[in-house]
């Protein structure tokens, strides 16, 4: 069983992404529950921020893939 450090690194990055996006989603729903009239804006902001965080996590995935191929 060969432990590929790249895979471990990608897994850790996914943990970070999951935590981050989960927190974003949680806070966003809480904010939406407090002020339902702003739900549209909050949802937009949540999606954009989630995309950003996911982008950062995917940096790590790219690095892992680079390590596999070289």
């Amino acid at each position: 069983m060969a432990i590929s450090l790249a895979a471990v690194g990608a897994g850790l990055a996914v943990i970070g992404a999951g935590l981050g996006i989960g927190k974003i989603g949680g806070m966003a729903t809480e904010a939406m529950a407090r002020q339902p009239e702003f739900a549209g804006k909050i949802q937009t902001a949540m999606l954009i921020t989630a995309a950003m965080v996911e982008g950062v996590a995917l940096f790590a995935v790219i690095v892992a893939i680079l390590e596999i191929y070289s």
């Binding site: 999606l47 954009i48 995309a51 950003m52 996911e54 982008g55 995917l58 940096f59 995935v61 790219i62």
Partner: protein
């Protein structure tokens, strides 16, 4: 909607099986390095399907057609054009092609090298420009880009025809496209660039938005002329990010440059801040590039892997499960497609707007947006 999803999913399963079967044959032929199973090299298969290729293979059930795209090389001895059929589908550097000028080429993993240089160095690097000519071939991804732009042109042409009678309600395809255009204008361009300067940048933003959206969506459709993964190719996203970077730099006014080279911070922090700001200027488009590429590439890889699970498990009965996963992931991917197009466009608009920003924001020590809180 549910019925449509079920029909789509059910149709996909045989398609995916046939497509994967074709790939399985290929994988069986090449025993790629690092493949543990004989018969199918997952890595090579994925690399082949998400990467680029000099051939254009159309594979639908019971029909396989290979279009050999032209190979255009710029060698030391001048331009050399020939059809990729000469390589006879070889990807391991075994077939040597000699062109009219006497150059010999081999193709290893879709990169063309000089045959004699490869003899000395059996594992060449793609960035080693001494052992390979400059490649300007019209590859599969280039064809796909052309295809996407042609579809976009057709759509926009039909949308525009509606506007010859401007007082009527838009009908036909304009009903879908026009709200998107207005969305880009009102939600992305005007809030970020400002209501007086946005018109110059609208064409670029619109082109980028629709290109990314269309190519993402096209990449999700698994059959014949679609299904090519262009935004999942880092070079394509690099070009898009490059355009954004160029536009941002060209649009920068004095205030913007002042901020980068002379930020309003105390003097002892400046030696740290200035390199950081300069790096930031490059890292922002870099992040755009990697974000789009990684999302699309990861999505396609997952989708292909889901199908390959059938072959890894080695049993046809796994097909419905795989097909179900495929449909599910497909829906997530559609959302991600729209989202990534939106995020790329809005970040481009944001960077352009930052470059065009007027004065009086930092000097007074207050930011106008916060006043609304």
């Amino acid at each position: 909607m549910k019925k449509f999803a079920m029909a789509f999913g059910l149709l996909l399963i045989p398609l995916m099986m046939s497509a994967a079967a074709g790939g399985g044959e290929e994988g069986g032929e090449q025993n790629g390095h690092g493949g543990e199973k004989e018969g199918l090299d997952v890595g090579a298969f994925i690399a082949h399907h998400t990467g680029d290729s000099h051939d254009y293979v159309i594979e639908i059930p019971f029909f396989k057609y290979t279009l050999h795209l032209p190979v255009i090389l710029w060698t030391d001895k001048g331009l050399s054009v020939f059809s990729s059929a000469k390589f006879k589908g070889d990807n391991e550097g075994k077939v040597v092609v000699t062109d009219k000028k006497g150059n010999k080429f081999v193709k290893i993993h879709e990169v063309i090298y000089y045959a004699d240089k490869v003899k000395d160095n059996p594992h060449p690097n793609v960035f080693d420009f001494k052992s390979r000519p400059l490649d300007f071939s019209f590859t599969r991804n280039a064809l796909a880009i052309l295809f996407v732009f042609l579809i976009l042109l057709v759509l926009i042409y039909f949308t525009r025809k509606v506007y010859y009678e401007p007082d009527k309600v838009p009908r036909g395809i304009a009903k879908f496209i026009e709200p998107l255009i207005i969305f880009v204008r009102d939600e992305i361009a005007i809030p970020n660039i400002g209501p007086d300067k946005y018109e110059k940048y609208m064409p670029y933003l619109l082109t980028v938005f629709f290109f990314i959206l269309l190519s993402n969506l096209i990449g999700l459709i698994p059959f014949a002329p679609f299904g090519h993964n262009i935004t999942g190719n880092i070079v394509v996203t690099f070009v898009l990010a490059l355009f954004t970077f160029i536009l941002t730099t060209l649009a920068g006014n004095k205030h913007y440059w002042k901020h980068i080279f002379n930020p309003p911070v105390p003097a002892f922090v400046k030696p740290i801040m200035i390199p950081v700001e300069i790096m930031g200027m490059f890292i922002k488009p870099f992040a755009l590039m990697v974000r789009l590429f990684a999302n699309m590439f990861a999505g396609h890889t997952i989708l292909i892997s889901l199908v390959l699970l059938i072959f890894i498990f080695g049993s046809v009965l796994f097909a419905p499960v795989s097909g179900l996963f495929y449909v599910f992931m497909g829906f997530i991917k559609i959302l991600v497609a729209f989202l990534q197009a939106y995020v790329f466009t809005i970040l481009s608009a944001l960077f352009i707007g930052l470059a065009l920003a007027e004065d009086h924001e930092e000097e007074h020590g207050e930011k106008p947006e916060l006043a609304n809180h």
